[in-house]
């Protein structure tokens, strides 16, 4: 089996994980990697938990990975980090957005939002925790939260040299949002300590 890397982007439908994955795969393709990506559409998109997997290397077989196989999880919401934690390798990395979004069962008072999601992740994995939404707003729009998280992911995985990510972002996002997203990328990148 050839050596591959995989990332799991998890969050709640509508948080922008798809664009993040798109930037990632555009960069990986430009760097010459074989890339496969998997996402699920349909009913699960209606406010449900969503996950996108990106798998890359010299040659990739399966587009999906199993439990205990992901090199990194990028969680757009902190409870989602916990939900997919069993997909991380024991020495895996987690980038966690310190943001809480109640599920419908929690909103309806049928369940409680779990305590200590971030602490539980930190106890088991190398974690980078940031308030990506607040960082995004301070730059100009909460909408670029996904690219803030992407910046953190690139730094956390040590992928700076893979490709010119700023150029990849510039050519992936609509021109009028280019500066915003470049700033988001840099802010997310800086939020992760070397």
């Amino acid at each position: 089996m050839t050596k591959t890397k995989s990332a799991l982007l998890v969050g709640v439908g509508g948080q922008g994980a798809i664009l993040t994955a798109k930037v990632l795969v555009n960069g990986l393709m430009r760097a010459g990697y074989d890339v496969k990506m998997s996402e699920v559409h349909g009913m699960s998109q209606r406010g449900g938990s969503v996950s996108t997997q990106v798998h890359w290397g010299e040659k990739v077989n399966s587009p999906v990975i199993g439990k205990g196989a992901a090199d990194i999880i990028v969680a757009f919401e902190k409870m989602e980090a916990v939900r997919y934690a069993d997909y991380l390798k024991p020495n895996g990395i987690a980038v966690i957005n310190d943001y809480e979004m109640a599920s419908s069962s929690i909103a309806a008072g049928l369940a409680e939002y779990p305590e200590g999601c971030i602490e539980a992740m930190q106890k088991n994995f190398t974690c980078h925790v940031l308030k990506a939404g607040e960082i995004a707003e301070s730059i100009g729009s909460a909408k670029c939260m996904n690219i803030v998280l992407f910046g953190s992911m690139v730094k956390a995985l040590g992928m700076d040299d893979v490709v010119d990510w700023e150029d990849v972002i510039a050519s992936t996002v609509p021109p009028k949002f280019k500066e915003l997203n470049l700033n988001a990328y840099r802010a997310g990148h800086d939020a992760v300590k070397a």
Binding site: E39, H41, G42, N61, P63, P114, K123
Partner: protein, 584 residues
């Protein structure tokens, strides 16, 4: 050469284009929908449409084949149930232009009501089946499928699964090849499926299947990769890649792309080259059972099982007993089930229905299936697309027959579902004197699959303005003398409509009409609701509407401004008038 990261569905659309396909018809359904969403980009070269249902789509595509052009239809796995009738007879008649039917199966039921294995359809209908395992194969195998269809004079089932359809991998494009369309000649012997013709067509079909099986031995769609001879794996579709990752270096693979009829001679040859033979496939033991029946010893389903999607880890664990290195972080995530969107027009209807404990409500397939979830809990059954009216009819007749008088029965479906196959149920209720109220939840779009047009929306797949069929006119024509049209977001009016329909002395039907907020071409009235925490007494009645934007914090209601669109359904249920709407 153009090299792109494409989903399987995008690649299938590209493959159809390159194959010179000219007529395409489909009904949307996850995970097949994006094939047709991607076809309009080739509309200068081909015709594509959304049909009212899968049977119609199949008939349109098959008609085009009879007329001599290459054609395509596509549907989700349960759509093939709807389309089965023309498929089985098309097999007997054969084709003129190549005819491909895409069946997109959904193991693990990400967005489906069952996980039926449609490979049995190909076998049962006696048609060729082609199974790609990644996006490049989706493109290449489409072109091969049309060749097979024409060479062996039969429809081809092009079977994908969710992971093939929705995974993205790198694809290299080719060029479109225009195929000369022969002059049309009437061929009654071939295409009129009267008993005498069918009698003669059946042996011809069996003969063609034999030829196709022989072709399978040398077909480039079936590929042998020989290793050290210890372990051999027969596999197809996405399971091939799972097995590639899970089995050790040196394993031999027979990867099948043409899976009906099974190329048994090739499998026998492969089996003779390995010491131990496994069959790795998702869902049922379609290949394994046939291989065993041919007297070739193999193993698979007893270890792998028949349920749900596989992945490399699952295959590794079940075949070799290697457990995944899973970390338990000790905190349990709360489930996050899908819910009706904030501002969804269905919410007002289901909230109103939820207040009546004597209502029995048969639902249907679509966003409104979520009306059965907590806290609305306003559905008794959901069976299949278009079944809402007719299942309700059966329940109403059962209550009548059993002398149950304290139930009021409703059949509920959506606008697209009405045109799909709900109309026949509406006829049934009138014709057989049903004691129930049919309700169409008309949000003016096919919502769940991602906003496709349908015969009621006024647009077609090519983006042209089309005749918008009026549901009220159809119901009136059927004999519903009291068709009540109501805005479900106005809870008082919704309740009144229900009471009026129940009290009606003539056959009544309800159309709860308000467009889905996600329709982009309509200007929506967006605002936001705010809670006056002084007035809020923390009764939590607003939570009963099941809106993702409505929360309770510190014993007071709170509305998430990022999610709220100002529909006011929560405000209407607040007994204290503590929720008001502001402009955004």
């Amino acid at each position: 050469m153009d090299r792109q990261l494409l989903s399987g569905n995008e690649a299938i659309a590209r493959g159809a284009y390159e194959a010179g396909v000219k007529v395409c018809s489909a009904y949307p359904g996850t995970p097949s929908t994006e094939i047709f969403e991607n076809l309009p980009k080739y509309k200068d070269a081909l015709y594509c449409e959304w049909a009212p249902n899968e049977k119609v789509a199949t008939e349109v595509a098959y008609g085009a084949s009879i007329a001599g052009v290459r054609s395509l239809c596509a549907m989700k796995h349960v759509g093939v149930n709807v389309a089965a009738d023309p498929i089985f007879t098309a097999a007997y008649n054969g084709v003129s232009g190549g005819f491909v039917i895409v069946s997109a199966d959904d193991p693990s039921m990400h967005s489906s009501q069952n996980e039926q294995d449609n490979r049995y359809y190909a076998k049962s209908a006696k048609i060729a089946m082609v199974e790609p395992s990644d996006s490049q194969e989706c493109l290449d195998f489409m072109k091969a499928a049309y060749e097979i269809s024409e060479q062996f004079d039969m429809p081809v089932m092009f079977r994908t699964t969710t992971r093939v359809a929705h995974s993205k991998s790198i694809v290299t494009f080719g060029e479109r090849v225009e195929r000369e369309v022969p002059a049309y000649v009437r061929n009654t012997r071939k295409y009129i499926s009267a008993p005498a013709n069918a009698y003669r067509n059946h042996p011809k079909l069996e003969e063609n299947l034999k030829k196709l099986e022989a072709y399978g031995k040398t077909s480039p769609l079936n590929k042998m990769e020989l290793g050290d001879g210890k372990i051999g794996v027969v596999t197809a579709s996405i399971a091939y890649y799972y097995a590639k990752d899970a089995f050790p270096e040196g394993t031999s693979f027979l990867k099948l792309g043409l899976t009906n009829p099974m190329p048994m001679d090739l499998i026998r040859e492969f089996a003779s080259k390995v010491e131990k033979l496994y069959v790795i496939e998702e869902l049922d033991g379609f290949m394994e059972d046939q291989i065993k029946a041919a007297g070739i010893p193999c193993q698979g389903k007893d270890l792998i099982g028949k349920l749900y999607e596989l992945n490399p880890q699952i295959v590794r664990e079940r075949i070799f007993g290697e457990a995944a290195p899973v970390t338990d972080v000790g905190v349990q995530a709360v489930s996050r089930p899908p819910a009706l969107c904030p501002g969804c027009p269905h919410r007002g209807f289901f909230y109103t229905m939820s207040k009546h404990k004597d209502f029995v409500i048969a639902g249907d397939i679509g966003c409104y299936t979520l009306g059965g979830s907590a806290p609305l809990n306003a559905l008794d059954s959901v069976v299949c697309m278009g079944g809402g009216f007719s299942v309700a009819m059966g329940m109403a007749k059962a209550f009548e027959a059993a002398g149950v008088t304290d139930k009021k029965v409703f059949g509920v479906l959506g606008d697209s579902t009405f045109f799909h196959s709900g109309m026949t149920g509406a006829a049934e209720i009138i014709y057989n004197k049903g004691n129930l109220i049919p309700v169409v939840l008309d949000n003016s779009i096919t919502g769940m699959t991602g906003h496709q047009d349908n015969p009621g929306t006024g647009f077609n797949l090519q983006g042209e303005i089309a005749e918008a069929l009026k549901i009220e006119d159809i119901l009136t024509a059927y004999g519903y003398k009291n068709v009540i049209i109501v805005d479900p977001q106005d809870l008082k009016a919704m309740e009144q409509a229900i009471q009026d329909a129940l009290a009606s002395q003539v056959p009544a039907a309800i159309i709860a009409r308000r467009p889905c907020l996600l329709i982009k071409r309509i200007k929506h009235d967006i605002g936001k609701c705010v809670v006056d925490t002084e007035k809020c007494i923390g009764c939590k009645r607003c939570l009963g509407v099941g809106c993702p934007a409505v929360l309770v914090e510190n014993k007071k209601a709170r509305i998430d401004h990022n999610q709220c669109v100002g529909c006011t359904v929560c405000a209407q249920v607040c007994p204290m008038g503590a929720i008001t709407r502001e402009e955004k």
